[in-house]
Symmetry: C2
Subunit: 331 residues, 2 copies
């Protein structure tokens, strides 16, 4: 094989499902590592909700949108197959911003070796964006034992780690999910204290039942109508982090948010955050995350898609909630 596949973004989301019509699949000759370079063969590519933002034309985001006609952005894990770089050997497993491509020619910058003993799925599901995001968000939330935490997208890659960290820290933890199988998983496998199915439950009633003492901390991953219901039950000195708003990403006119009067009455803090601001803190964040993993407190599951081209429709699983676990494309 002398050729490889890469996928370029050619069209921005327009509210319709993501699909092959928005991409072009390109065949290229496999390059050779030049002086100081490494050639990486990607084996596992991460699909993350943040990608939907990267595809959009908005220029105000924390990271510039992917330019049309260029390789779609993603993180991933691969193996070094050629190296002219003193720090990398052939066979090394590395993680970094790989993109939707089978091969990456790199100076090595931005690529980190995967720790020995950590398999590819754990590396991408926990010790990458999901675990770092969960850890950073929890830091901002300052949760205390005995408080009640609610997390939306609770069966997702970030939300499931958030809830498990909070349980390990002694909080009451309620998760919002979109189907009963996920509700069952977070309660019976992950140990959440309760689950709400935002598609079928009476939101106000179920929230009142599951959070008898109100809500102290709210980790927002999704947006959508449940946001207002959760906001209504926030306690005095409540803290909210806003990490994802998938329900609104592709809406032409995003729904309005809550009125701000309760922010005063209850002295609530809301903080939006995004991981690129905190890449400098990654070692410290990993230091906080690792003990939870080592103590067996963090379970995860993966949803594996097969082959690079499956990414083009795979992203829709974030909208439908159809993914069961961390979405990974196996190449």
């Amino acid at each position: 094989m002398t050729q490889y596949t890469e996928i370029n973004l050619t069209k921005r989301p327009d509210g319709n499902p993501i699909g092959p019509h928005m991409f072009e699949v390109v065949k290229k000759d496999i390059p050779t590592a030049g002086p100081g370079q490494i050639l990486i063969k990607q084996t596992h590519m991460s699909l993350d909700p943040a990608m939907l933002g990267w595809m959009s034309p908005d220029t105000e985001s924390y990271i510039p949108p992917v330019e049309l006609g260029t390789v779609m952005r993603s993180s991933g894990l691969g193996e070094v197959v050629e190296s002219n770089h003193p720090d990398f050997n052939v066979g090394d497993k590395v993680m970094g911003m790989t993109g939707w491509t089978e091969y990456i020619l790199s100076s090595g910058q931005g690529f980190n070796k995967v720790q020995a003993g950590v398999d590819a799925e754990t590396a991408l599901s926990v010790f990458a964006l999901p675990g770092l995001t969960a850890t950073q968000g929890m830091k901002l939330l300052e949760p205390k034992a005995g408080e009640t935490l609610i997390v939306t997208g609770a069966a997702g890659s970030v939300g499931s780690i958030v809830g498990q960290m909070a349980k390990a820290d002694g909080l009451r933890v309620i998760g919002v999910v979109g189907d009963d199988e996920k509700a069952d998983w977070i309660v019976n496998e992950l140990g959440f204290d309760g689950a709400i199915n935002y598609k079928t439950d009476d939101l106000a009633e179920k929230l009142a039942e599951l959070t008898p003492n109100g809500i102290d901390v709210f980790f927002e991953n999704t947006g959508g109508p449940i946001q207002q219901h959760i906001f209504n039950r926030m306690n005095t000195h409540g803290r909210i982090v806003v990490c994802g708003m998938i329900a609104d990403y592709t809406a032409a006119n995003p729904a309005p948010g809550p009125n701000w009067i309760p922010l005063i009455k209850k002295r609530i803090r809301i903080q939006g955050f995004a991981m690129p601001d905190h890449f400098g803190e990654v070692p410290a964040l990993l230091g906080k995350l690792a003990p939870y993993v080592m103590q067996g407190k963090i379970k995860y599951r993966t949803h594996i898609l097969d082959g690079l081209e499956s990414a083009m429709t795979g992203l829709n699983l974030f909208f439908t909630g159809g993914n069961k676990g961390k979405l990974i494309v196996k190449l």
Copy 2:
């Protein structure tokens, strides 16, 4: 004179103007200070927007509502006319939560002597709730020289101090007001860089013109439709404090707030606050505020109403924006 007047709250706001129909004016015999007590004759009573919250039935606020049939709550300044308390002498000027009454019998707790050389109007306009609130809000906003600050209710007792502190700290300062006379005052007397009349200006256009580099810090005192326009111009890592929402306090259905997507994209922080949380920090806050006053950086003006009973209709000035300066009732 052996009798005095006090005013009880008897009816809660219902969306109509505040007025005598909501109160009962009671005549009582002037009491005598018992052991350990002081008798205060109130001379200046403060009217503050927070009172509108204290009158409302909401039980979730930071301070319980005024009970119907009891004296309406307020802060004020008076003179000790009888004292059986070792720490107070007849003739002392004291400030504290006086209520809508001409005389207050007190153990002295919660009353502080007014510093020598500070007149009653300065005491209530700067070294009381308005100055403390401005100082606490600025602490939460972490403004930096060169940034752009916008403050709503900019000619109000809190907003005017906020803007002047920010100017002294080297920020670009824009104020939102409700009439051209106030716009003129904050720009030409207080030194703001610009003013927006929310009633007559094209909000988006005027904001764009006055904040060419966007908005870094937003001190929200009013709510209302301009909130969304300001929110739209917030910069990355912007900070917002929410101190007042007068435009929505009496609305049956408060208008919704901004969608939260920009909180993520721009990593914005919103913090609601109320002074009762920070009464323990008053000495430190006064320590921050005093230098601005001593250096002549803080100008203020008062709007004096005459006689206790004028308070009953005077509160409406907060809704109409008819007050020109700190509202004080002179008894």
